[in-house]
């Protein structure tokens, strides 16, 4: 009985090694859960696949992308959209854990509280990586042909993964603030849709009305999509949108990691 208590030195804070160990347990838990629900993984693909088919074979013929074929224009946009939709599962999953009382159990244990969010976002990063690879392969199947060297395609992939990771933290903050799975789901679409559609993901921003275009041009989704396009198919300049995306991601991370942690402590 005393042995357990004696195992713990009475430090008041966790060491980084302990935080990493706890985060690992949390990440393994999440990945195991996902692997046990293959239908759930399938569900992650439904929306992006519909969008690929819809834009590639229905709307695409009516969208003028100049010298670039529409399918080459579209795929980088689809990839970024898939990343954002994938990150929504972070917040949704946390609200489910809250409702099930699992979060209470974790918070009553002598663990680093940040580990729950660090582990969760890390696991979701892994899931997103798999989803993005599948979407890229689907893109190739419908005619997407990256023209740039492989290392650039990999760079674009890493940039979009970083994008997904940062958006997981935003999604975590939103989920932990609203607390209810249904609300998290509908709120998710409210903040995500304008970002995805008022961007260069599906159509060039040049033809948009002034107000929308102004929003679209500073939208991090536009920057990430433009960077990926430049890196994968050589469409436009790569450096400026890449730096812009990184600046956005750094700023968002600085704001939303502490906000999500605070929401977790209060949830």
């Amino acid at each position: 009985m005393t042995a357990t208590t004696a195992n713990f030195t009475e430090r008041r804070r966790m060491t980084p090694a302990e935080t990493i160990a706890d985060s690992r347990v949390m990440a393994v838990r999440q990945l195991r859960k996902i692997l046990r629900r293959p239908m759930y993984v399938g569900y992650l693909f439904v929306q992006p696949v519909i969008f690929v088919l819809l834009f590639r074979y229905v709307f695409g013929s009516a969208i003028d992308t100049g010298r670039v074929s529409y399918v080459n224009f579209l795929l980088p946009g689809i990839i970024v959209m898939t990343a954002i939709f994938g990150s929504l599962t972070t917040g949704l999953g946390l609200t489910e854990d809250l409702a099930a009382g699992v979060v209470d159990r974790f918070r009553s244990l002598p663990i680093a509280r940040s580990a729950v969010l660090i582990g969760r976002t890390a696991a979701d990063l892994g899931t997103n990586a798999v989803t993005l690879v599948v979407m890229l392969l689907l893109g190739v199947a419908v005619g997407f042909r990256p023209s740039q060297p492989a290392y650039q395609v990999v760079l674009a992939f890493v940039l979009v993964l970083a994008f997904a990771y940062v958006f997981s933290w935003i999604s975590a903050f939103v989920g932990l603030s609203v607390r209810n799975p249904e609300t998290a789901q509908s709120i998710g679409f409210i903040w995500v849709f304008p970002l995805v559609f008022a961007s260069s993901a599906f159509v060039p921003t040049a033809g948009m009305p002034d107000v929308v275009r102004t929003f679209a041009e500073v939208n991090p989704v536009t920057l990430a999509v433009n960077a990926s396009r430049a890196l994968m198919i050589g469409h436009g300049d790569a450096l400026a949108p890449t730096l812009g995306t990184l600046a956005w991601l750094g700023g968002l991370l600085l704001i939303f990691v502490p906000l999500a942690m605070r929401a977790f402590r209060r949830a």
Binding site: T4, R36, F106
Partner: protein
């Protein structure tokens, strides 16, 4: 025996917590001696769960002091978390994972090595008779099995203080019995258990000391015997041959000298009334006979904790019975 015997495992002073206008805890005071099972008894909304959440460092109090084995919940929350195990009414386990994975995961979070977590997981699973189902997904478990698994997870770190928040609410009688035997075992091992319950028989059966909580305060505290003595008399229980006559019988028994308001058990139709005069049963028989009410059985006995609760709070512990009494009275 426990190294903490004779000292206070949980000390609570002047605890207050409000959610908006709703006061959940209103200056609650409580001391739980180490190595005992302490029952916190009260109806829904009495503040029991709020109290457990504050002791478990999940919620911050508005005012007051709470210490677990001398560690303040606000000053040293991590030290408190190292000393407690929590099992609640909601069975916080992952349905997609197996029972073993759930328990081992919590073991790892208590910083056990992989091997030690596996060994202890097998140990607690066996103790809760879950070894056969250990490698099945929790989704296939019954409600009672989930609750036992939740408790197993709470105990894998061998915490000296265990908080059980309504562990048997909604369980079938057999699962309740099983959880009860675990609580007995914990006490024998010297673990301090703070148990909340709305079931008086549960507190009577498990706890050495019981605090009755109502509106966020302790309204009475003592052993089950002491609490029963507060009624200061015996309880007359009557069963009728025909339940249709319950209203007449209740009205007749209400006129007994020195008797409280009779109460009808929603489950079996038994009428119970606290009586203080020695000849009460004879008197009751006469009253019922005058009304031509046929009696199946009548006995005078020790008051139950239900009777105590009614006397202390002016209403039954069981909301269903509450409704029933209201209907009968109308």
């Amino acid at each position: 025996m426990t190294p903490y015997a004779g000292t206070a495992a949980i000390e609570i002073e002047g605890l207050r917590k409000a959610f908006g206008d709703v006061v959940a805890l209103d200056g609650l005071e409580l001391t739980v001696e180490a190595g005992t099972v302490f029952g916190l008894l009260g109806p829904n909304g009495a503040g029991k769960t709020t109290l457990v959440r504050i002791v478990a460092t999940l919620l911050q109090p508005d005012a007051g002091r709470v210490a677990v084995l001398g560690r303040d919940v606000l000053g040293e929350p991590l030290a408190v978390r190292r000393r407690i195990g929590l099992a609640g009414q909601f069975a916080a386990v992952d349905a997609e994972l197996t029972g073993r994975e759930n328990v081992e995961m919590v073991g790892r979070l208590y910083r056990l090595s992989g091997g030690e977590a596996r060994r202890r997981a097998a140990e607690v699973l066996e103790r809760f008779r879950l070894l056969d189902a250990a490698d099945r997904r929790v989704a296939t478990y019954s409600g009672g099995m989930r609750r036992r698994l939740d408790l197993a997870a709470g105990l894998i770190g061998r915490p000296p203080v265990v908080l059980l928040d309504e562990p048997t609410t909604g369980l079938d009688p057999r699962s309740r019995q099983e959880l009860w035997s675990v609580a007995d075992e914990l006490r024998r091992e010297g673990t301090t258990v703070l148990l909340t319950t709305q079931y008086l028989d549960e507190a009577d059966r498990l706890a050495q000391r019981i605090a009755v909580v109502d509106h966020g305060r302790v309204v009475a505290e003592g052993t089950a015997t002491q609490l029963k003595a507060m009624i200061g008399g015996n309880v007359l229980s009557v069963r009728l041959a025909d339940p249709a006559y319950i209203p007449e019988a209740t009205a007749a028994l209400a006129t007994l000298a020195g008797a409280d308001q009779p109460r009808v058990d929603a489950g079996d139709g038994e009428i119970r009334v606290a009586v203080r005069t020695p000849g009460a049963s004879v008197q009751a028989l006469r009253r019922l006979d005058e009304k031509r009410v046929a009696i199946a059985s009548i006995e005078v006995g020790q008051p139950s904790l239900d009777d105590v609760f009614l006397t202390l709070t002016g209403r039954p512990a069981d909301p269903e019975a509450d409704e029933r009494t209201a209907r009968e009275a109308a």
